[in-house]
């Protein structure tokens, strides 16, 4: 969610019972602004909070002029001092997928006994080290996975220019109530997978400036999103069942939308059994 709209946004996304204490809210207002100044971000998003066993990580993302470019991610343990996280690599993501269990809450904690394939193991053993992965890397990989899998925006909120860069659509006035209840009105804000697989007929209806992302309709498994109207049917809240804790909110016919993650940072592998 936009850092500038944090207080109002937290109220709208609080249906799941998770939020921030007044102290954190107050300090975030100031520290996110300072982040914007120090790193020269154009936009700062408060991404959410991953609960570890002994502490919690607060995550912020900074965006540059092209909103679809890889984002810079920062984490903090107390919302006051922020540290930049390294960009996520495929290797990190693959390793982190093997790890199970909660985050510890200590960024320098090392996980051991990861299973990696034989080649990597040989390489590492030659160096004389056992395969370990730090919690910081796991954090990066988890945030990347969550953004890729369930980071969503309403249709029409972002527009792609002919040069390829992506900006906010200044003419976006919000989805209507009927549109807001449909999953096809929301897109994954990440590299599209399924766009090329659409039939020519479907592609003809698309507007290349706004429909350049995958919609939620074809997410596997079907039903992995819950769409609810809260607060007396004035806010549309989407919750992901694959990553429990991700909440997306949108007030129809207004420009307010955003998503936030409050959870343990673990994928819900039991989803097919639970539906």
């Amino acid at each position: 969610m936009e850092a500038a709209l944090l207080p109002a946004a937290l109220e709208l996304a609080a249906g799941g019972g998770a939020g921030l204490s007044p102290e954190k809210r107050a300090v975030l207002g100031a520290s996110l602004l300072l982040l914007q100044r120090d790193y020269r971000f154009e936009r700062v998003w408060f991404w959410g909070c991953i609960q570890g066993v002994r502490g919690a990580y607060y995550i912020a993302e900074g965006l540059g002029p092209d909103r679809a470019a890889p984002r810079s991610r920062l984490y903090s343990l107390n919302c006051v001092e922020w540290s930049l996280l390294p960009p996520a690599t495929e290797e990190m993501v693959a390793q982190a997928e093997q790890l199970k269990g909660r985050f510890q809450g200590d960024p320098s904690f090392e996980y051991e006994h990861i299973e990696i394939n034989a080649e990597d193991a040989e390489r590492l053993f030659e160096d004389g080290k056992e395969p370990t992965i730090k919690e910081e890397a796991r954090l990066v990989a988890t945030i990347e996975q969550i953004d890729r899998a369930v980071g969503i925006i309403p249709r029409g909120a972002f527009v792609k220019t002919p040069l390829g860069s992506v900006h906010e659509n200044r003419s976006f006035e919000g989805l209507s109530l009927t549109e807001a209840k449909k999953l096809s009105s929301y897109f994954h804000f990440t590299e599209p997978f399924n766009l090329k697989n659409k039939t020519l007929l479907e592609k003809a209806d698309l507007d290349p400036s706004t429909d350049f992302l995958d919609s939620l309709e074809h997410d596997i498994p079907q039903g992995s999103w819950t769409v609810q109207l809260e607060k007396g049917d004035t806010v549309v809240v989407l919750r992901s069942l694959l990553w429990l804790g991700l909440t997306f909110y949108h007030v129809p016919m207004t420009k307010q939308y955003g998503y936030v993650y409050f959870g343990t940072g673990e994928k819900n592998f039991d989803l097919p059994f639970m539906l």
């Binding site: 019972g17 102290e23 269990g101 909660r102 607060k231 007396g232 049917d233």
Partner: protein
């Protein structure tokens, strides 16, 4: 430069003798003519939409000048589209659209109803309300949880506050508590934990007895029918289902509290049925999301005995039993009850956070059996003993061992963790202002369960999906092994049908035997006759 066609630029501006790229048309008359031609062209109405470019440009520029957006040139196409759209809206038919009744309006009506005072309330009732009331101070609890970053938005908390007040005015309730919120796929559940006044619950049990008697009568009728049909019956199954463990009485054990749920504040409260041990045992084995409709079936394996209302009640029972933590208070009575300790000295927040032994469970743990108090299911009544055959006695399973759970006020530090994660995480709400910090406990076994303590105040709450945490993936129970077939024996083994030769041989043998028997009879008759003749 030849004569220009109407579509080319420069049409109308070309004057013989002057280049069309001359901005200045020196001759004022021909300039006026050129301008009029240009304007006439712009005023031409489009054949398809009836608009004309002149008016459209005028409207657009007016809009831009009124609103003064930054970088208007970048969004000029959208502005143009918006202006055209607005044009079409103005053209109203004589039939006016009915005002759209959005579902939001209905929901707003319901919420407004919460804020209206009930009819007929006078000053007397106001005094009663201010006195002892079972209504919990939801906003106060919400404030303490907010310090931990846990809780719903203030609006929603206030709506729940009023909804609880409505519940209390309708039902005879002694104590009431906002238990929490469970999220579902289509709708969510808001749950209130309630204790009735003593003696108010008898209505429920009477209804149940009536239903049971009706069932018994039906059973007797069926027995009579069966007796009439006694023919060769297939071998009776020696399978005896495990005895149904009876649920605990209302007001004790897992059914100590009664729970009411509603989907949204403003909607009517629905009472959840009491929970049976079978439901708790089954709920431990399955993991399903709640849909939000209480009558939804729970499709699972092992099949859950009940619908979503029962599953919800079972999960609430499990969460409460394992998660309700309180500050340490001296318990008064025996194992079933506890009393508040009036001499209780509140511990400082630091102590509460440092050691988990300052927190205790105040709700009885649920045993494996599904009850809080163990019951031996094999105590037979006299009737059953008379009916039993000897065979059945031999196949009884071994006697169950008595299950003992931890006693009532066990400290949380003795809760088992999961792998190397402790069962609870304790934190103060703020490190910056320790004087007014609140001690917060988060459960790691049931993510979403929280407890706070500050001075003499403490409370528990649950916000979540209603499932237990397990680091391993959920493996559904395997189907039971295939039922063994009956051991082969002579009674049920099919014998081979005899062939034709065998039948004929058998027939011949039989006839011989008959013939031999007849001869003997004949001989006997003859002898008798001879004897008779001799006697004569």
């Amino acid at each position: 430069h030849g004569p220009y066609q109407p579509r080319e630029p420069g049409y109308g501006l070309h004057q013989p003798g002057h280049s069309p790229y001359d901005d200045q048309i020196p001759d004022p008359e021909s300039r006026m003519l050129a301008i009029q031609n240009a304007k006439a062209y712009l005023l031409k109405s489009s054949t398809t939409s009836g608009l004309n470019l002149y008016d459209h440009l005028a409207n657009m520029l007016t809009k831009i000048l009124d609103e003064q957006p930054t970088n208007a040139v970048d969004i000029i196409e959208n502005i143009s589209k918006d202006v055209k759209w607005a044009q079409f809206q103005k053209k109203m038919d004589t039939l006016r659209d009915e005002h759209e009744i959005l579902p939001t309006f209905e929901a707003a009506e319901k919420r407004k109803a919460l804020f209206l005072k009930a009819n007929g309330e006078g000053d007397e009732e106001l005094e009663e309300e201010i006195g002892e009331t079972p209504l919990p101070n939801v906003m106060e609890t919400a404030f303490y949880f907010e310090q931990a970053g846990v809780g719903l938005s203030k609006d929603e908390s206030y709506h729940i506050f009023l909804a609880l007040k409505k519940l209390i005015s309708v039902q005879p309730i002694q104590t009431c508590r906002f238990w929490g919120k469970i999220l579902g796929l289509e709708m969510n559940y808001i749950i209130a934990e309630v204790q009735y006044h003593e003696g108010e619950e008898e209505e429920e049990t009477e209804e149940e007895e009536v239903i049971e008697e009706g069932g018994k009568r039906r059973g007797e009728v069926e027995d009579e029918d069966e007796e009439k049909e006694k023919e060769d019956e297939p071998p009776k199954s020696t399978y005896k289902p495990p005895p149904v463990i009876p649920k605990e009485e209302n007001g004790t054990g897992a059914n100590k509290y009664v729970y009411f749920v509603c989907n949204e504040p403003g909607k009517p409260w629905v009472k959840l049925p009491p929970v049976t041990p079978a439901q708790i045992v089954c709920a431990r084995k399955i993991k399903k999301f709640f849909t939000g409709r209480l009558d939804a079936p729970v499709v699972s394996f092992p099949p859950f005995p009940g619908n979503e209302a029962n599953y919800l009640r079972a999960q609430i029972a499990r969460i409460s039993a394992e998660e309700e933590g309180d500050e340490e208070e001296e318990g008064g009575g025996g194992r079933d009850t506890y009393e508040e300790n009036p001499d209780f000295q509140p511990l400082s927040v630091v102590e509460m956070v440092d050691s988990l032994s300052t927190w205790v469970h105040h709700i009885q743990n649920i045993l494996k059996q599904g009850r809080c108090v163990w019951l031996n299911p094999f105590q037979k009544s006299e009737e059953e003993e008379e009916d039993e055959d000897e065979e059945e006695k031999a196949e009884e399973p071994d006697e169950l061992q008595q299950e003992i759970g931890p006693p009532l006020l066990t400290p949380l530090s003795e809760d088992e963790g999961i792998q190397n994660i402790p069962a609870w995480t304790a934190q103060p709400s703020t490190n910056l202002i320790p004087q007014y910090a609140v001690a917060i406990l988060q459960s790691n076994r049931w993510p979403g369960a929280y407890a706070f303590a500050s001075g003499r105040k403490f409370d528990n709450i649950y916000f979540g999906w209603g499932h237990k945490y397990s680091p391993e993936n959920h493996t559904p129970a395997l189907p039971p092994p295939v039922q063994a077939e009956y051991p082969s024996g002579p009674e049920i083994t099919e014998t081979r049908d005899p062939t034709l030769e065998e039948e004929l041989a058998f027939k011949a043998a039989k006839e011989e035997a008959l013939a031999a028997a007849e001869e003997e009879d004949d001989e006997e008759d003859v002898e008798d006759d001879e004897e008779e003749e001799e006697d004569d």
